[in-house]
């Protein structure tokens, strides 16, 4: 087991080198010179040359790439050419915001998705089944941007139940230590702030949860339906076990494998940041940071961001594989 984990972690190295090469080439292939974007209408030859030199953009590309690799090896992702801020710092604070949002969204998605999927499968063709599957279809197809604006309009502006955007009321201060605000507010022993943060998280995380929720519900339903048709379920029922034990003890666990895969994948995707949700709800997460960096051709931030996201994705996949082993002892990890 330990060997397996080590092996998988070692495999991260070639993956990350490949990703950094890819990230570097793609962002440098996109036309548009950061110096010109910074100077805008005010660019002239002298100022562009001077700025390119300042930003280290006048070096040949392979030198820039080697410098980038050298920096990564020493744990440094460089400095943003737009804000002059350390890329590691800039990415991690926005990543923390995204992580918090993603975790809450995934909790909503998993709880609601699995519950809805299970009930729909057990009561196949019932009204609940039909309604929840229509709901899931809407959830998958509804553009988050539009859903977000509707939610703000209804719940923040018309009803005033939730704050329209942001992470915390402007009047409340929480010392930022981990930059996971829920965590930080607890560390500071500030329950008031904790509640306020949760309150702020509700709308964006719900909007973000719609798609994974729908996918999880549908996956749970189909997987459950398949398991419920198996012989051992018939046997369990035949020996007189109550239906809830049949469902919860025998069926769900076996139906879970594909669902876990989907949860893992969705979690990995959401960790990459959600540009739409973050934009509508003014949430300072990784997706928007990267979007802005791409528009400004902030090479170091984009490269670092892609590296971070791929790292998370590989890590989440590893976790999923480990979870398989726990759920289904027949799977051997070697």
């Amino acid at each position: 087991m330990v060997n397996y984990i080590l092996k998988r972690l070692l495999m991260l190295i070639p993956v990350l080198i490949g990703v950094s090469l890819l990230a570097f080439s793609i962002i440098h292939m996109i036309p548009g010179d950061p110096a010109r974007i910074i100077l805008g209408e005010r660019a002239n030859e002298a100022s562009i040359l001077a700025l390119q030199e300042k930003l280290g953009l006048n070096e040949p590309l392979y030198i820039q790439f080697l410098n980038f690799l050298k920096n990564i090896l020493s744990g440094d992702l460089g400095t943003s050419i737009i804000t002059n801020e350390k890329v590691t710092y800039e990415l991690l604070i926005s990543f923390a915001a995204t992580l918090e949002l993603t975790i809450v969204a995934m909790i909503i998605a998993v709880v609601v998705g699995i519950a809805a999927g299970t009930i729909a499968a057990v009561k196949q063709y019932s009204i609940f089944d039909n309604l929840s599957m229509v709901g899931a279809l809407v959830g998958v197809s509804m553009p988050i941007f539009w859903l977000g604006l509707l939610m703000i309009w209804a719940f923040a502006y018309k009803l005033g139940w939730f704050p329209p955007s942001g992470r915390l009321d402007v009047a409340i201060n929480v010392p930022r230590i981990t930059h996971l605000l829920l965590f930080d507010s607890l560390l500071a022993g500030n329950l008031n702030a904790f509640k306020n943060i949760l309150w702020h998280l509700f709308m964006p995380s719900f909007a973000l949860a719609t798609i994974p929720m729908a996918i999880i519900a549908r996956m749970t339903r189909s997987s459950m339906l398949e398991v419920m048709r198996q012989d051992y379920i018939r046997t369990a029922r035949a020996k007189g076990l109550p239906e809830n034990i049949v469902v919860f003890k025998h069926a769900i666990k076996n139906a879970f494998l594909p669902v876990i895969t989907v949860i893992g994948l969705q979690f990995g995707i959401l960790l990459g940041g959600a540009v739409m949700t973050e934009t509508v709800f003014s949430y300072p997460g990784l997706g928007r940071r990267l979007y802005l960096a791409i528009m400004a051709r902030d090479y170091p931030v984009v490269q670092g961001g892609i590296l971070l996201i791929s790292f998370c994705f590989v890590l989440v996949n590893l976790l999923v594989d480990l979870t398989y082993n726990y759920i289904d002892p027949r799977i051997k990890l070697e």
Binding site: E41, A43, S47, I81, I152, A193, T279, P284
Partner: protein, 544 residues
């Protein structure tokens, strides 16, 4: 079994969060006190100002974007300042100033007494000299890695440019010596990028000064949460009339509609970047007020004066007659713009109002084209930028409308667009025929429009601000004479004269001067939008 699995996931997440905490701790951050929020006895006056993007940095000398200056101009003061709603000059940190010689080569500034930076250090002649030296000299020790100070080079013609030396004569007297007479000098010094920062703080924070700004302004910097908010608080020791607000908070809310709903929900007080079509919502809301920012910009179509058929003045005049500017304004600015007939916006001194614009007249356009030898029109390209600019919110849509108006006089224009950086680059190299572009004024001096956009000095391939490649010796002579003249009335005359020649030569189709709408709560008092695109008058603002 299932319990174990969740514990595993939980441990993984926990370790990830600790990892983040570890990494985050390595960079210094603005100090914050761990405090439980107490209900203040007297309600604090907090104003929340919302815009689309966050600031890039708060060291004014090293920034180029409006979002940064929006905040920094409340923290740092400049030597001279602009009047509330125009660019006439009033005293700032300098009480008085005057040229020492008749050519205006040496300027003497007398500073206010007893002004202190937010860190308690005094504002004196040495501090001013320190700031100038940092702006001017590329080898200055307090320019940190990656800092380019673009605006100095831009406004003063390089490093050190037209400024030869800055001397601290005594505690409160500064002398600035120029290499040549330079009329826009005083107006330049009112720009937010030339805000005076505390030398001690620059030394103390080093590379991180951009997130720990210290000036003499009416508000002090408190904290900055990236992509979220910047918090400023009242400077109790402000040298001028103290601010009425206790806190001034700048929030970044990227989506225009979401920002408007926040304003309606009451969580913010003022918003910029209101979509013109939403203006009616604001006007109909009894709790909101609509304000207009006076225009200091121009959006125009540059015609490449050295390329056929635009090298023919008759063709250029014909195209001027072909465009219905008011229709563009009604369709794409919801009326929040004025038609342009000159390169200068009407709010600037030197604007020549006597000029009569080429009226919209397709028949006349056709006749002129025939006279020029193009009775059946011609085929050409119409370049449109890919991004919204303050002077042009929807460039591609505007280009499409213009395409139809050109087609009506027989000119078949194909729309060309590309990413913003490449667009500017190709424009500077003159690869276009017709080029949509515009300009936001910096310092309120006509030179900042006329010389930059229409002088032959700036029609150089590869670094053209003069995208029309318009080269008129007569205009050049007038503009250079205006740069050397120190008397404003005489300068205005020179600019008026230049506009007459430019009108006749018609190197552009001047399109619009936009007046961007701003929405605020009715309870916000004395907020005066400034034409330069940002306000340094927040100390006057009050909430009822």
């Amino acid at each position: 079994m299932q319990g174990k699995k969740w514990i595993l996931v939980l441990i993984a997440l926990l370790s990830l969060s600790l990892f983040i905490a570890g990494c985050g701790g390595t960079t210094p951050e603005p100090k914050q006190e761990a405090e439980a929020p107490k209900e203040p006895e007297v309600k604090e006056k907090v104003l929340v100002f919302a815009r689309g993007g966050d600031s890039v940095g708060l060291d004014p000398a090293n920034e180029t974007d409006g979002e940064s200056f929006y905040v920094s101009r409340n923290i740092t003061d400049t030597l001279v300042d602009y009047e509330d709603d125009n660019t006439n000059i009033i005293p700032g940190l300098a009480k008085t100033w005057e040229p020492k010689d008749k050519d205006g080569l040496i300027w003497v500034f007398n500073l206010r007494e007893g002004v202190k930076f937010h860190d308690g250090t005094p504002l004196n002649a040495e501090a001013v000299k320190f700031n100038f030296d940092r702006w001017m000299f590329e080898d200055n020790a307090y320019r940190y890695e990656g800092e380019a100070y673009e605006y100095w080079g831009y406004m003063f013609g390089g490093y050190p440019g037209v400024v030869k030396e800055v001397r601290a004569v005594d505690e409160l007297t500064v002398e600035v010596e120029l290499t040549q007479p330079f009329a826009p000098f005083i107006n330049n010094l009112g720009m937010p990028c030339f805000g005076i920062s505390s030398p001690e703080a620059i030394k103390k924070y080093g590379k991180d000064f951009f997130k720990n700004p210290v000036g003499t302004g009416p508000f002090k910097f408190v904290e900055w949460l990236k992509d979220d908010k910047i918090v400023l608080e009242k400077n109790e020791d402000y040298w001028g009339e103290g601010p009425k607000l206790d806190k001034l908070i700048f929030r970044a809310i990227p989506d225009n509609s979401a920002r408007l709903m926040e304003l309606q929900a009451g969580t913010i007080d003022i918003m910029i970047g209101l979509s013109p079509e939403d203006a009616t919502i604001v006007e109909q809301d009894p709790n909101l007020q609509l304000l207009l920012r006076p225009s200091m910009n121009v959006g125009y179509l540059a015609l490449h004066n050295e390329k056929e058929p635009f090298d023919n003045v008759l063709v250029r005049r014909a195209l001027n007659h072909a465009i219905d500017k008011q229709a563009l304004i009604d369709a794409f600015y919801a009326g929040f713009a004025k038609t342009a007939k000159n390169p200068l916006p009407p709010s600037l001194w030197g604007y020549n109002d006597a000029i009569v614009d080429y009226e919209y007249d397709p028949a006349k356009a056709k006749a002129l084209l025939a006279e020029a030898g193009y009775p059946n029109g011609f085929k050409t390209e119409l370049w449109a930028m890919p991004v919204a600019r303050p002077y042009m919110p929807q460039p591609k849509e505007i280009a499409t409308a213009m395409q139809q108006q050109f087609a009506a006089v027989g000119v078949e224009a194909e729309i060309v667009t590309m990413d913003w950086g490449t667009y500017l680059e190709k424009g500077e190299f003159g690869e276009h025929s017709m080029y949509l572009i515009g300009w936001n004024g910096d310092n309120g001096d006509p030179d900042n429009f006329m010389y930059v956009l229409l002088d032959k000095d700036n029609a150089k391939v590869g670094s053209a601000g003069n995208f029309a490649f318009y080269k008129s010796d007569k205009v050049h002579d007038l503009l250079i004479a205006a740069q050397k003249e120190t008397d404003q009335a005489k300068r205005a005359k020179l600019y008026e004269e230049a506009q007459v020649i430019i009108h006749e030569d018609a190197p552009w189709i001047p399109l619009v001067h936009s007046t961007p709408p701003i929405a605020a709560k009715k309870s916000v008092k004395n907020f005066i939008p400034h034409p330069t695109g940002g306000e340094s008058t927040f100390w006057k603002v009050d909430i009822e």
